[in-house]
Every structure is written in C-alpha cells, then in structure tokens.
C-alpha cells in the first residue's frame, strides 16, 4: 500500500516543467489544478503515483503531472493501468480519459475495468465531443447535435456514463463539474481513498468545439436548481432556496417542493451511497436535465473484492505453500536418463 508521508506536499510538487498545451479557457486546466491540490492534500508523494492516459486532449494529462506517467494509445489506458497495478500494487494509479477515449474506442476496457474492480482512480473528462480530432460528436453527445461529422444533427443515441458504469458493477461512482472546485475536491479525495475502481465523471467544457455544453449545470445562475449534491446519509435537497427535494415513489424518483402538499424533509429520499443493491444508484444515474436536477457528489461507494489484491493474494499464497523449484519444474512428472 502507498503511504502518506509526514512531509507536507504542495500542489506544485505535482506540477511538471512542461508547457501545458490545452486551449486557453479549456476546462482541463481547472481539473489539473484540482487534482494537483487533491494529491497534495492526500499526502502520497509523487514517486508513489503513476498517471496513465489514452489519447485525446484530456489524455495529455500525464505530461503535466510530476508523477510517473504514461501517455498510451487511444482507449487503452485502463488496460495498461491494470497491468501496471497488478505488477505494482505499491503504486497509486490514476487514469485520465475522455468520453471518446473511454466510451467509444475503449468501451470494452472501461466496462471490464469496472467489473474487475481494479484499484485505479479514473478521471473521465466528459466534454461531449471529440476535442483532439477537432469536433466530431462523441458517445455522450446529445441526439440532434450538429458537428462536423453530423451536419444534419447526430442520429447516434448517447450513453449516460454513470448508467453504463452501474451496469458494469462499478463500486465507486462520482460526478463533478470542472468549475465546481469544492465538489471536485471532495470527490477526488473520496476517490483517492476508495479501494477498487473509483470512477469520477467530470463535466468539462471544451470552449473551442462544444462551448457551453454544460452551462445549464455549471453556471452560477443555474447550478443550485439544476444540480443536486448527493451526500451519504442526507436527504436529497436542492435549489437556491434549498426548498426542493427528491422523493422516491416506489422506484420512481420525483421532484417535490418542501412545505407544499404536506411534503416535509422526512419524506425525501435519503442517499445511501453504501447500498449494496445498485438499483438506487441506477435511478440516480438516470436523473437528467431537464426533468431532474443532475446529481453530483459520490453516487455510489461500496466495498467489493479488488482484482489486483486478489491476484497478488493468490501469488503470495502459492509462494507460501508451494516452494518454487525451477529445476523440479523443468524436470516435470516423468524423466528418463540416456547414457
């Protein structure tokens, strides 16, 4: 296990001397700063951390992190990181990936990573567009979106990444918005502490090819009414006046006004992030604008056996119970002597 040191770390201990090449105004800058702050706070020194990415604007991330880092190939970061984590459980491994990288070309690795529950922290930069290739629609782009590759509007139905992740048995699912520094800091800290795959979807603005894609959630004007911060053990309340809430009618969430029609706080859905049953996490993952406020915070956090720990436990167990004897192994079961 990686251990926090006593020496106080600063965000700049995680910054490299490389020129950051994102477009001015890109949401990725805020995410980079938030991650560097979160790692400093967490206290694990840079040499015990590796940052692995695929390909995309967001996947440039490792170059700007003063940890060990690997900028791999499109969609494959989860696989490279899995191999690294199995080989080196002593390192804390972060994965940076985009919506195209993780959900189109890397979709297969993404779901299998969640299923295995490898101890990786995954930052999914969701800007609902292919940034690096200059603006084609992505698997999270909304139907009807006009892009260079969909001049009449996209006819490709999108994924909800969190719904996919629930279906893939994700043990830790969180969401934040690039500009929401407070929530981002909290979910990054929680992801860092989770054992197993910790997926953090970050709603990120690409101001060049999809500017304003999340304005309805990120702008100060709408944020309070159109997002909801879910916190374990607390009733789901939102709104600028904190007077709205979510009530569960059977398995159907509904928006209610506190104080109207006899609704009190006691009627609201109390968020249980640790619920083993994924049903409610799935309901949360389906809450979409404009019918619902979009949940941010930790949607789900449950303990499940961790793949890399299981692999290494088997290796340790076999090493302890069966003595390695290479000559014996080469000899096999039956031999004969000539001459």
């Amino acid at each position: 296990m990686t251990l926090a040191t006593d020496i106080a770390l600063k965000p700049k201990d995680f910054a490299t001397d490389q020129d950051v090449r994102w477009c001015p105004g890109c949401g990725d800058y805020a995410i980079l700063a938030a991650v560097q702050r979160a790692l400093a706070k967490q206290g694990i020194p840079p040499h015990q951390i590796a940052t692995i990415a695929g390909i995309g604007c967001s996947s440039r991330f490792p170059y700007y992190m003063a940890t060990y880092g690997f900028h791999t190939i499109h969609g494959r970061a989860p696989a490279v990181a899995t191999g690294l984590k199995v080989a080196r459980p002593d390192l804390q491994v972060w994965v940076a990936t985009g919506d195209g990288d993780s959900l189109s070309i890397g979709g297969n690795h993404f779901i299998h990573l969640l299923r295995r529950n490898v101890d990786l922290k995954v930052l999914l930069f969701n800007n609902r567009i292919y940034g690096l290739t200059k603006g084609q629609y992505s698997p999270t782009s909304e139907l009807g979106k006009k892009t260079k590759s969909s001049p009449q509007g996209s006819v490709d139905n999108p994924f909800l990444p969190m719904s996919l992740a629930v279906g893939a048995e994700g043990s830790f699912l969180a969401r934040s918005i690039d500009v929401d520094a407070k929530t981002l800091a909290d979910v990054l800290a929680a992801a860092g502490a989770h054992q197993g795959t910790a997926l953090v979807e970050i709603l990120q603005n690409c101001n060049i090819f999809n500017d304003g894609a999340w304005d309805h959630l990120s702008s100060k004007e709408f944020r309070a009414d159109q997002t909801i911060l879910v916190e374990h053990g607390k009733p789901m309340i939102f709104g600028a006046n904190r007077d709205k809430g979510i009530r569960l009618n059977g398995l159907r969430p509904e928006v209610v006004k506190i104080g109207e029609n006899g609704v009190t706080e006691a009627d609201l859905w109390v968020h249980d992030a640790h619920d083993e049953d994924p049903t409610r996490a799935f309901l949360l993952s389906r809450m979409e604008y404009p019918l619902f406020p979009v949940p941010v915070g930790v949607l789900r956090s449950v303990q499940r056996p961790v793949y890399d720990a299981l692999v290494n436990a088997q290796v340790d167990e076999q090493k302890a119970t069966r003595k390695a004897n290479l000559q014996g192994l080469l000899n096999g079961r039956s031999t004969w002597v000539v001459g």
Binding site: A79, A87, R88
Partner: protein
C-alpha cells in the same frame, strides 16, 4: 498378468515405426496417443508426435468433422519428424478411416474397430459399402476387432452403463498396441490409478480393459508376431522428458524471469493453438507468475506493457488473429522501448482460417504489419524442445535491449511433443535487468529516460516508485535523451534510424550459422520454424546418397545473421521450404538480391520428408 510381460510370440525388430490413432474427438485419441508416446520414450526410443485436432470440440459423433488424430514416430535412432506416413493406423470408426487412410503406407497395419462399421456410421463417413468387407482395403494388413463388444465382455459384472463401457474402449486399443510393440504398461497403469483415484470402479474397469487388450493380442491367433523397436543409441546423454512446444515456451520464459530475478506477467486472451501457454502460466504462481486473462488481445498486450513499465518480465501470447489486434500496441512498445515478449503460435489464416492446423504465414505480419517504421526483433523456434531456448533468448534480448521481441512458433510445435534434454538451471545464463533504481546513479545530472547505452543503444529501464526518477513516456515521438514530446523533423529522422540501429545491433551477438553438411556445394536448404525436422531428415538422406546438399536453419529472422549473405553465395542453389506462399524467401531476396528458390505447400499440415526430398532433387543438378 501385467501388461508389461513380454510376448511369447515371435517378434520382428524394426528400426522405426509410425503409428497413427484416429477416432471421434470424444474417443480419447489424444490421451491414447500421448500415453503410447510416453511409454516409447521411457523405453529409450526417440519420439516425435503430431496431434491433428478437429476444429470442433464435439462435432456430432461419427462425422468427418469430428475426427481427431494423433501420429507418433518412435525409433531406435535420432529422428526429427513425426513421420510422413504411418506403418500402423488404428481407427475407431468409419469416419476416422475415411479421413486417415491416405496417411497409411501400402501394406501397412490397419486396426479397425469393426463394431462401429454400421449403416449409420458408414453413411456419415460417406461410404456406400462397408470398406471392411468390400475388398477396397486389400492393399493393407487389415485387423478387424470388435472393440466395443470385447470391452463390454471384459467388463461383465462391473455394473457399468453402456456409455461408461464405451468410454473404456480406448484402453482396450491401447493395451493391444502395447502388446504389439512390447511397451511397458506400468506407466499407463499408474496414470489410470491417478486419473480415476476418486472413482475406484472406473479405475478397476480401465485397468481390466487395458489388460484385456494386451491379452487379446497375445492369446488370439489374429496377430502372428509382435514388433520390437530397440532403444536408440545415438541420443546425446542426459536426463530427458517429453515436452510440447507451448509448455516449453512457458518454461523458457519462466526460466528467463528466474535468471533475471524478475516476476513474470502474462497477458492473454484465449485462442487456439496458444491457450496452453496461458494454462501453464496460470499454474505457476509460486514462481512469481501473474496471469491476466484479458477481455481481448488488445487489453492483453496493453496490460503487459503496463507491467513492463512496472519492471516485470512482460509477455503476451496469441495466434495470428490476435497479433492483428495487438499491432497498434506493439508499435507503442517499439516507441516506448520497453522489454516485452510477444508470442505468436501461428495457425492457418487469413481471418479465422484453420484454427487447429499449422502454418507459417505470419512472418511478414510480425516483421512489417504495423504503422510507421516499427522494427522489432523476431525469432522462431524450430521444434517443441527448441521453443524453450528460443523463448529464453527472446526474453534475454528484450531485457538487454529494451525492445519488444516476437517469438514465432506454430500449431505443430505447440502441440507436438518430443523428448527434451532437460537443461541444468545453474548452467543457464544470468540475465542482468540493470534497472535504474536510484537517483544517486544520476550523479547530480538530469534524468534522461532516452539516454542510450553506447553498446546496445538501450535506454534505461527505470524502477518505478523510486524517488527522483519520476518521468513520463508515451507513443508520441520523443526527443532523444530527454524523452520529451518532439515534432522536430530532423529528430524524427534520427529516432527512426536509432530504433532501427538498435535492432540491427543485435546481429552482433547472433552465433555463426550452424551447417549440417559442407560449407559450399550444389544446394543449401534453408528453413525457419517447424519444417526444420523434415528438411534436415531429407537432406541427411540425400547426403547419404552422396549428393551435395547442406541444411541450415534460421532462429533469427530479424535481424538476420551477419554471415548469412556470404553463406548463400557459396551454393549454386538456395532452396527455402515454408508452409506459406513464400515469405522468408521474399525477405531474403530483398536483403541479398539473389535468385533464391522456394518450395511451398499450404495445407495446414507439416511438410513431409518425402516431398522435401523431391523438392531438393528438383533443384539438384541431374
């Protein structure tokens, strides 16, 4: 009695015998064949085997699609191939006969399970008449044996179901051929006891049937004589075992990891004929082996690359279709200059092709099948036992030069077993991983992840987790030395040349070509991979007739040995036999601009000694 008693009947001594077992894939043919070959090896014979699997695991019983074969060559001298054609063919049903009769020599012994030659089975095998009765087998010594009935008779009183009885009949056949060739049955008895330890009734039943088969040969008048193949005398002294290529590949890599003091990571997705490598590794955790059964071949190699970055001996294994999926990641390993071994157990292609059959048609794929200038060392094993040494060498080179290395084997090598002289672990060379594992080694200078060793051009393999050695790598072109991203035109040119030079430099440590025959003459037969055995056998036969023929085999396909070009010029004709449409021959023509001859048969089967002898005769001066 035990099945190890010697026969009272007259015996004929033979120098070598090829026997082929064939039946439904559910008939236990592979087991029967391997037990016979193990007993032959223990009897001191040299052996070589060729399992011939159907693609379908359980094709409908009695159909041609379901026929499984196992050919064994055992001899009282050094042999290199499983034999062109069989002296003895054992068939469990009409389909097995229809599919395998072509492999039986004229006047060969044909043992048929007569019970199964009934209307339905005959029809499924495409026979209008019963071949056992219509005289069409007059050219062979036909022995009709009611295996099912005899097995059933032997098991009276055991209280077994008809199905259970049927499953014992392969041991009757095995007992009979053990009698026929004077094999010692103790080992088979031991195997039966081990295998059925939990089912005492089945254990007794199989032992009984095995003995009944032996007795049948000895006591009935059907067989007038038995055969003896004495122990071979010209085999190098040492301790031997039988080994198949896939297992040898895995053991060679485990040995290399041990000699390098590294743990081994194997990423793979199941595929015929490579899966047994995964199975073998999965059972070797106490040697520090971690296996990752990935979601696809891409994940398998990518995880291996991650493990290589994490300082383990990383290996990924597959067959041609999997290499196709891995090729982008193979380029990433070239670019990041990490040690990695990529095993390709070749099978018939293209596409799904012939999954269970052998071929050598992926050479150009592994040499050239990637985007950009992407040079990679390529080695090929020539036989099952040789796969151990070649795998060890592939790992050694990968670690020393920090490169991905391809190891080629094929279906015939992977599944065919041969006696293997077990190496002494202490005598295997030590591999020095030479990790950069301490910032103090930089002596105050900057960390340069792409600084090169002057001799090998290798970059440092940096121990992850070391304070002060944090660095970033990736697939984008990098500045030499610093490893930073670079789009500089001249730098890219230099880096392309450097990556090539690094692979070329390996040629300096390839040993001189080993020749079987004179260093000059009429014909040089040059092989790579599994045709080695048949080619060398054909060459030796022609040499015995005084012909000017030499044989050489290439373990290294990239880079080519430094002395190869000069060698080719010493012969009037160079002939390259391959189980492909002419791939090495293209590489050689391009490298040396010589008119090199080719011989190719691409039928999913190994090349035979006979056809290679004819092919050589064709190019020899008349």
């Amino acid at each position: 009695m035990t099945a190890s008693a010697t026969s009272a009947k007259p015996r004929e001594v033979r120098d070598s015998v090829v026997i082929r077992f064939a039946g439904d894939s559910g008939d236990g043919i592979q087991l029967t064949g391997s037990q016979f070959s193990a007993a032959s090896a223990l009897a001191g014979n040299d052996t070589a085997t060729f399992p011939d699997f159907p693609a379908e695991i359980r094709a409908p019983t009695g159909t041609l699609a379901g026929v499984s074969g196992f050919q064994l060559h055992f001899a009282s001298r050094d042999i290199l191939t499983p034999g062109d054609r069989a002296d003895v063919l054992v068939v469990m049903n009409p389909a097995a006969l229809a599919a395998n009769l072509k492999w039986l020599k004229p006047n060969g012994i044909l043992i048929a399970n007569a019970d199964s030659f009934q209307a339905k089975n005959l029809r499924m095998a495409g026979y209008a008449e019963n071949p056992l009765e219509d005289g069409s087998l007059a050219d062979y010594q036909l022995f009709q044996i009611d295996l099912s009935r005899l097995t059933n008779d032997a098991l009276q009183g055991f209280g077994l179901s008809a199905k259970e009885v049927e499953r014992c009949k392969n041991y009757f056949a095995l007992g009979l051929v053990f009698w026929l060739f004077e094999r010692n049955g103790e080992m088979v008895e031991g195997e039966i006891r081990r295998k059925f330890a939990a089912k005492p009734v089945m254990m007794e039943a199989n032992l009984k049937v095995f003995h009944a088969g032996w007795d049948y040969g000895e006591n009935t008048e059907l067989f007038a004589l038995s055969y003896s193949v004495p122990a071979a005398q010209d085999i190098a002294p040492g301790t031997y075992r039988s080994i198949a290529g896939n297992e040898a590949t895995a053991l060679g890599l485990v040995a290399a990891a041990h000699k390098a003091g590294l743990d081994l990571f194997y990423g793979s997705y199941p595929i015929t004929p490579a899966s047994d490598i995964l199975h073998t590794f999965a059972g070797l955790k106490e040697y520090g082996v971690r296996t990752f059964q990935a979601e696809d071949e891409i994940a398998a190699i990518c995880a291996a690359i991650g493990a290589a970055y994490g300082n383990q001996l990383a290996v990924t294994g597959t067959s041609g279709p999997g290499i196709a999926l891995k090729s982008e990641a193979m380029g990433l390993a070239v670019m990041t200059e990490l040690p990695l071994v990529i095993v390709n157990v070749q099978r018939g292609g293209p596409s799904t092709g012939l999954p269970t059959k052998t071929e050598q048609a992926d050479l150009l794929q592994v040499l050239y099948g990637r985007n950009g200038e992407s040079p990679m060392p390529v080695l090929a094993a020539r036989s099952a036992g040789d796969a151990f040494d070649t795998a060890f060498e592939a790992a050694r080179v990968a670690i020393k030069y920090r490169v991905p290395v391809v190891l080629l084997t094929d279906g015939a090598i992977a599944n065919g077993a041969e006696p293997w002289r077990i190496p002494d672990v202490d005598a295997l060379p030590t591999i020095e991983p030479n990790l950069l594992d301490d910032a103090a080694k930089l002596e105050g200078g900057p960390l340069l992840p792409y600084l090169r060793d002057v001799e090998t051009l290798a970059r440092p393999w940096i121990k992850l987790g070391t304070p002060g050695l944090e660095h970033r790598i990736g697939g984008i072109e990098k500045w030499d030395k610093t490893g930073h991203i670079s789009y500089d035109p001249q730098n890219h040119h230099n880096m392309v040349k450097l990556r090539q030079a690094k692979v070329d430099a390996i040629a300096a440590e390839i040993p001189p070509m080993h020749l079987e025959g004179a260093p000059e003459g009429d014909v040089l037969v040059l092989t790579w991979g599994s045709p080695y055995g048949a080619a060398l056998t054909a060459v030796r036969e022609l040499q015995a007739q005084g012909r000017s023929v030499t044989h050489a085999n290439l373990r290294w396909l990239n880079p080519l040995p430094l002395d190869l070009g000069a060698l080719l010029l010493k012969f009037r004709t160079v002939l390259v036999p391959e189980i492909n449409n002419g791939q090495l021959v293209k590489v050689l023509r391009a490298a040396y601009a010589l008119d090199i001859k080719q011989y190719n048969r691409i039928s999913g089967q190994p090349l035979s000694v006979m056809e290679l002898r004819d092919a050589i005769l064709n190019v020899l001066p008349h």
